[in-house]
């Protein structure tokens, strides 16, 4: 077995070898290196064909029209384009936006920027299970609401929002609905012919494609309009200028094609792996799953190990590549803002780890990981004064701690 074991697929995935070989064909003199925007020769035509094939592959996974796919550099850019683009275009109708407290920073920080520009943003608090319920969105709607932006699957806790239901009530009120699907595409079903979503963000590297490429779905019927954020040669129907990176795009297309083909089987396998892992640690005392255990994407498990601090736990799990919270925030010492919003107390939030399993995870990986987690938690609890107090029957919440 190769060490360390990679259990951080929610942060990023290795590129599938099938994807890598397709990408390699788009680079050299012998390959398909042309500029897809070159209209005057064969090199350009071939590159354009590859880009359009990939656009179709992406559209097929989510049951959309290829003309509704706009290439971007990744989900962060897609979120920026969707939210700023729609807010700026529709600001004549109103300046109120609804989102949630547990969105990715790409959404939250974009909303903060819009607040500085004079927009008003409502940040919904998810319920304890991590889900934002449609009735919460309905209650927050106002006359001047122009945009709702919510994630399909949360990156830290893996819970799934009911996008279809929220889409219905946005459509009724003619409010633009943006969904960040970076963590859901290729993992759970998305049918944009059915779901009333207007804008949807995608990333390639979360589903075994390359980093640096993503897409934004922009609905044609009813037509959704955006103000471009990147100006230049007018590529992507003026919505996103910049020379199209053929190799990246072909990689994303292939990754989405594979996902469509293998998603159902892969989901079953990942649920089984997750269950296998959980069954080996769930009998320990004071171990809690964060977020809904049922309404959850297959490969994710977010667990709090009470009385053990997450960073030191990761330090003892040298053979496991895992994260406390999301990769984007794990450099900071603050406990996860996502867990805090769920009402998880700070101490348990400090004690949480995210395990995410993926295409190349084996049963043996999971068994080794579970064994090491048990040992590390036991070792650190022996070192923990809080564990002593818990064992002595002291209620930690009754103690006056000196915050520092």
């Amino acid at each position: 077995m190769k060490l360390p074991i990679y259990l951080d697929y929610s942060a990023t995935c290795p590129v599938d070898p099938r994807v890598a070989s397709k990408m390699a064909e788009q680079l050299t003199m012998e390959g398909n290196f042309g500029n897809p925007a070159s209209r005057s020769h064969l090199f350009g035509w071939k590159a354009e064909e590859a880009v359009e094939d990939a656009r179709r592959q992406v559209a097929e996974l989510i049951n959309a029209d290829p003309r509704e796919i706009v290439w971007t550099s990744g989900a962060t850019e897609s979120d920026n384009l969707a939210i700023k683009g729609a807010a700026h275009f529709y600001q004549g109708r109103g300046k109120h936006i609804i989102t949630s407290k547990i969105e990715h920073k790409a959404v939250l920080d974009t909303c903060r920027q819009l607040e500085r520009e004079g927009f008003e943003v409502t940040y919904l608090n998810p319920k304890e299970d991590g889900i934002v319920y449609p009735e919460q969105v309905a209650e927050a709607m106002r006359e001047d609401t122009i945009l709702v932006s919510l994630m399909h699957v949360n990156n830290e806790i893996g819970v799934i929002n009911d996008i279809a239901a929220i889409g219905e009530l946005c459509r009724e009120r003619k409010v633009i609905f943006h969904v960040d699907a970076a963590q859901s595409a290729g993992k759970i079903d998305i049918d944009l012919a059915e779901m009333k979503v207007d804008l949807m963000s995608f990333s390639a590297h979360k589903i075994y494609g390359p980093k640096g490429i993503g897409a934004l779905y922009v609905r044609r019927k009813p037509r959704v309009r955006l103000e471009a954020q990147m100006h230049g040669g007018g590529h992507e129907r003026g919505m996103r200028s910049g020379t199209l990176p053929t190799h990246q795009i072909v990689g994303m297309g292939e990754a989405f094609r594979i996902a469509k083909e293998e998603m159902a089987d892969e989901a079953k396998r990942l649920v089984a792996l997750r269950e296998r892992f959980w069954s080996q640690i769930s009998d320990m005392e004071e171990v809690h799953i964060n977020g809904s255990a049922e309404q959850r994407v297959p490969g994710n498990l977010n667990v709090s190990f009470a009385f053990v601090e997450g960073e030191s736990l990761i330090m003892s799990l040298k053979d496991l590549a895992i994260s406390s919270g999301s990769a984007c925030t794990s450099a900071s010492l603050e406990p996860s803002y996502v867990l805090r919003a769920l009402g998880v107390n700070d101490e348990l939030a400090h004690s949480s780890l995210r395990f995410s399993f993926g295409r190349f995870t084996t049963e043996q990986d999971v068994d080794t990981a579970a064994k090491e987690v048990r040992q590390a938690v036991e070792k650190l609890r022996e070192l923990s004064p809080l564990w002593d107090m818990y064992k002595d029957g002291v209620d930690l919440s009754t103690i006056e701690w000196a915050a520092h």
């Binding site: 330090m315 003892s316 450099a331 809080l386 930690l396």
Partner: protein, 134 residues
């Protein structure tokens, strides 16, 4: 984050982990930090009649640097007088362990812990604390 070899050594082989009887007359206990902040240290010292620290034990909830800081501290205080122990500075701990700037607070917490333990044993022994003595 890259940890120094000394932090890793203390983390993997913590010295003097354990618990002394905090009710005992010759044991001083310092408990500092808060679970909400991500670190809690309990440092205990056992002091003989001539005021020398004979034994020290710790338990720490916190990151590797917090565990290493308290482990190192237990090594340092053994054999010291209460006055000497109370003078240990966080900067000495940070320097010994090569703590990065974001982890300096771990050494501060360790300094607070030994000060609290010394204060506790002095109170038990009926001595005036330094602050009270002015």
């Amino acid at each position: 984050m890259a940890y120094s070899d000394k932090v890793i050594d203390h983390y993997e082989h913590p010295r003097n982990v354990g618990r002394l009887d905090d009710k005992a007359e010759n044991v001083g206990t310092g408990m500092v930090g808060a679970p909400a902040c991500g670190d809690v240290m309990r440092l205990q010292i056992q002091v003989n009649d001539s005021g020398i620290i004979e034994d020290a034990k710790f338990k720490t909830y916190g990151c590797g640097s917090a565990i290493a800081s308290s482990s190192l501290l237990t090594e340092w205080v053994k054999g010291k007088s209460l006055d000497e122990a109370a003078q240990i500075k966080n900067t000495e701990i940070a320097e010994e362990l090569a703590l990065p700037p974001v982890k300096i607070h771990c050494s501060v917490l360790a300094e607070d812990a030994i000060k609290a333990a010394v204060k506790n044993i002095r109170e038990k022994r009926g001595e005036k604390t330094e602050e009270a003595a002015g």
